[in-house]
């Protein structure tokens, strides 16, 4: 019996160590994605019918379910609003659970969507690493996909996904330098701690901000934490020097950042928190004086208010809002392709490329229009300027106020 116990415990230990190592190693997944040549599916003619189908790929269960479900709800909310206002045509959502950070699931979802002939376009996937590994199946199926959260610059700039991949969020090279400039020129901070969350989204942004801050003469200390699995940040807080002026946290789980901020305050440290777009969550992240980068949105918009009352069940869940816009992009493209009753996935992709959503309708505070030719830091599939990040400050009452 003792031997059984020893084997079971060893198995648990080895499994946990392997899992921890694997999760910690996500940052190196950049090379996984590859492109493949388009196949015949690209031009297959599909009868549109009254009800058209789009796919939504998001981490609906698993460790990142809290953000994936927001994205799914926002995307479905767009479709519900569309269906309520259009009598002749309706849309149906097929959801795929990518279970971020398990990229194998993202590949399976992409393959499933690619082989489902009813699906004409896709919203998602959520994470940059998911976009990378999904590229080949989406491309071989001829599907265009619009992510509401994958921000890694290379996804559009390396040119391998041109005409297939699009995003309704600005990229890291737009966000990082803006954050660094604000820290140095507005906050005038010279002692900064950058804490990455050990995933590709976070390490990418951390690298960009760290480099930009160092170029501007700041002293930067780099820390790292597994945001997802850490329940107690007090040991990390203990490592932060008392004279630190700003702590940059490009994380995606706002409740964890809230806990980190509270433990920082409880330890008597006064450094100001600066979060990335993943922390733009007025319901969960509300440490007064903290800053968050996000794209300009109208927080008083009727759509956001209606979402809060409806599917949000009292929460705005703004991290998922770009997925609403992504659904808007895909639905418009499908509608346009289906004008003559039939469509190909290639037509839908070309329509996505040419999509224009006027500022008044986009919820993002600017006109949504995609870049056609690379113009660093923008690549094909990025949104054209003035799509950019703004800086918001959290007031004493928890309100997000735009300051830059």
């Amino acid at each position: 019996m003792k031997r059984t116990l020893v084997f079971a415990a060893l198995a648990v230990a080895v499994g946990a160590a392997v899992a921890a190592t694997a999760l910690g190693g996500n940052a190196g997944s950049d090379r996984i994605g590859s492109s493949a040549a388009p196949t015949g599916t690209d031009g297959a003619l599909l009868r549109c019918g009254k009800t058209r189908t789009i796919g939504v790929a998001a981490p609906i269960t698993g460790d990142a379910a809290s953000i994936g479900q927001q994205q799914l709800r926002w995307a479905k909310y767009y479709v519900a609003r569309y269906n309520a206002t259009h009598k002749r045509t309706k849309f149906r959502v097929v959801s795929g659970d990518t279970q971020l950070p398990d990229t194998a699931q993202a590949i399976q979802v992409a393959e499933r969507f690619a082989s489902n002939s009813k699906i004409l376009g896709v919203v998602g996937p959520a994470g940059s690493q998911e976009v990378q590994v999904s590229s080949a199946p989406f491309r071989s199926g001829g599907l265009g996909y619009v992510s509401g959260s994958a921000t890694r610059t290379s996804l559009t700039n390396d040119g391998t996904r041109k005409g297939y991949f699009f995003r309704t969020v600005p990229n890291d090279d737009q966000q990082g330098p803006k954050v660094a400039n604000h820290i140095r020129t507005v906050l005038r901070a010279t002692r900064v701690v950058v804490i990455d969350a050990q995933n590709s989204y976070s390490t990418g942004l951390s690298d960009t901000v760290e480099a930009a801050l160092k170029n501007q003469g700041a002293t930067v200390r780099r820390e790292s934490v597994n945001e997802k699995d850490t329940t107690d940040f007090s040991s990390l807080v203990a490592r932060i020097p008392g004279d630190t002026q700003v702590v940059y946290v490009p994380w995606q789980l706002a409740p964890k950042a809230q806990l980190f901020g509270q433990q920082l305050r409880a330890a008597g440290k006064t450094a100001r928190l600066f979060g990335s777009d993943g922390l733009f969550d007025p319901d969960s992240f509300k440490i007064p004086g903290s800053l968050v980068s996000f794209f300009p949105i109208d927080l008083k918009s009727k759509v956001i208010t209606a979402y809060r009352r409806g599917p949000g069940k009292g929460a705005t869940e703004l991290f998922g809002l770009p997925s609403y816009v992504a659904a808007d992009v895909v639905v418009r493209a499908v509608d346009k392709a289906c004008r003559n009753g039939t469509a190909t996935r290639g037509e839908v992709r070309r329509n996505i490329t040419a999509t224009v959503i006027p500022k008044a309708q986009s919820l993002l505070g600017f006109t949504v229009k995609f870049v056609q030719k690379a113009n660093a830091p923008l690549g094909p599939g990025d949104m054209q300027r003035p799509a950019d990040f703004g800086i918001y400050q959290i007031s004493n009452t928890g309100a997000y106020v735009r300051v830059a």
Partner: protein, 324 residues
């Protein structure tokens, strides 16, 4: 890997306080593993999820009584109610799990209940996901009981009770360690001095012989699950009060670490669970503080491997395995 910081007494004390607090939670979870293993020789991998359910029950009570920022009752009775509800609810859940997932498999090959335990674990996780959603629920312990939460004035739980070398030891940290020690002492006395405790020891020693001596083994086993789950429920509420955020997957890693603590201390041993919990908590805290957060789990599970290689029965396991 980052180089360790130069020795800093304040940092060391801070990490020690953090480690002891965290270790207390692990110790309570470890006790559940130890008790069940002592009686049934079963690794109850659903135990971490019972702890998760306990944390949600505590959150439910908190919400029902006004929510963290607008309490309808005073803080102390609220916390007592949260503990009571979570402990009773988790205890009842533990009994149900034993009745429906383990008892029918008691005479099955040893692998069957182990797989059943994993199944129950996933069942509880996904039930919580389905019923409560994937979002984090917050006890808001930083502001809980605050007189001016709107101005972000901290509540009494994070007030310093005393200061050691510049390190604040918060009320909630003292509460967690005190409650854990109290429950440990109560459990030790219960097992040593009550009739049910004696029956538990007899059943652990030889189930068939205990039955022949007139002990109702089913009742004893159900009681063991109840007690272990009660402790998990208490740990769940303590977790919420310490770290605010509860969510449907919180039981997985905590369960693994509780299990590690149980094995390190000597599974089946009550003092071993406490010792194992403290070791795991301290290892995690020191690793996070001196080496970096990404390495803490490596150290924790490294200790497990080391102990298993050097002393497979755990640090205090040799005597206790047959005596519980």
């Amino acid at each position: 890997m980052e180089l360790p910081l130069a020795f800093d007494a304040q940092l060391f004390i801070q990490l020690t306080v953090n480690g002891v607090t965290l270790g207390s939670l692990y110790a309570l979870i470890a006790l559940g593993y130890s008790l069940v293993y002592g009686i049934l020789k079963l690794l109850n991998f659903a135990h971490g999820d019972v702890y998760m359910v306990g944390a949600f029950i505590g959150y439910g009570v908190l919400t029902a009584l006004g929510g963290p920022l607008s309490l309808d009752i005073a803080l102390v009775p609220l916390i007592v109610l949260m503990f009571l509800a979570a402990m009773l609810g988790s205890g009842a859940l533990g009994v149900l799990i034993e009745r429906f997932a383990y008892r029918p498999l008691r005479d099955a090959p040893r692998l069957a209940p182990l797989i059943s335990a994993l199944g129950v674990s996933f069942f509880l996780q996904n039930s919580a996901l389905l019923l409560l959603g994937a979002g984090f629920r917050s006890y808001d312990s930083f502001l809980l009981g605050s007189k001016q939460p709107e101005l972000f004035v901290p509540g009494p739980l994070v007030d310093p009770v005393f200061v050691i070398h510049g390190v604040n030891v918060q009320t909630i940290q003292v509460v967690v360690v005190s409650v854990t020690v109290g429950l440990m002492v109560a459990l030790t006395l219960f097992v040593a001095r009550t009739q049910l405790g004696k029956a538990m020891r007899a059943t652990a020693f030889d189930r068939e012989a205990a039955a022949m001596m007139g002990i109702d083994v089913d009742r004893v086993i159900a009681s063991t699950f109840f007690i272990g789950s009660v402790l998990a429920g208490a740990a769940g509420v303590m977790f919420g009060l310490l770290f605010s955020q509860v969510f449907h997957l919180m039981g997985f890693l905590a369960g693994l670490k509780g299990f590690t603590a149980a094995v390190v201390g000597g599974i089946g041993s009550i003092p071993g669970a406490m010792l194992g919990g403290l070791l795991v908590g301290l290892a995690e805290s020191y690793a996070a503080g001196y080496v970096g957060g990404r390495w803490s789990d490596l150290f924790v599970f490294g200790i497990l491997i080391l102990v298993l290689l050097v002393r497979p029965s755990g640090l205090l396991g040799a005597r206790a395995i047959n005596k519980v």
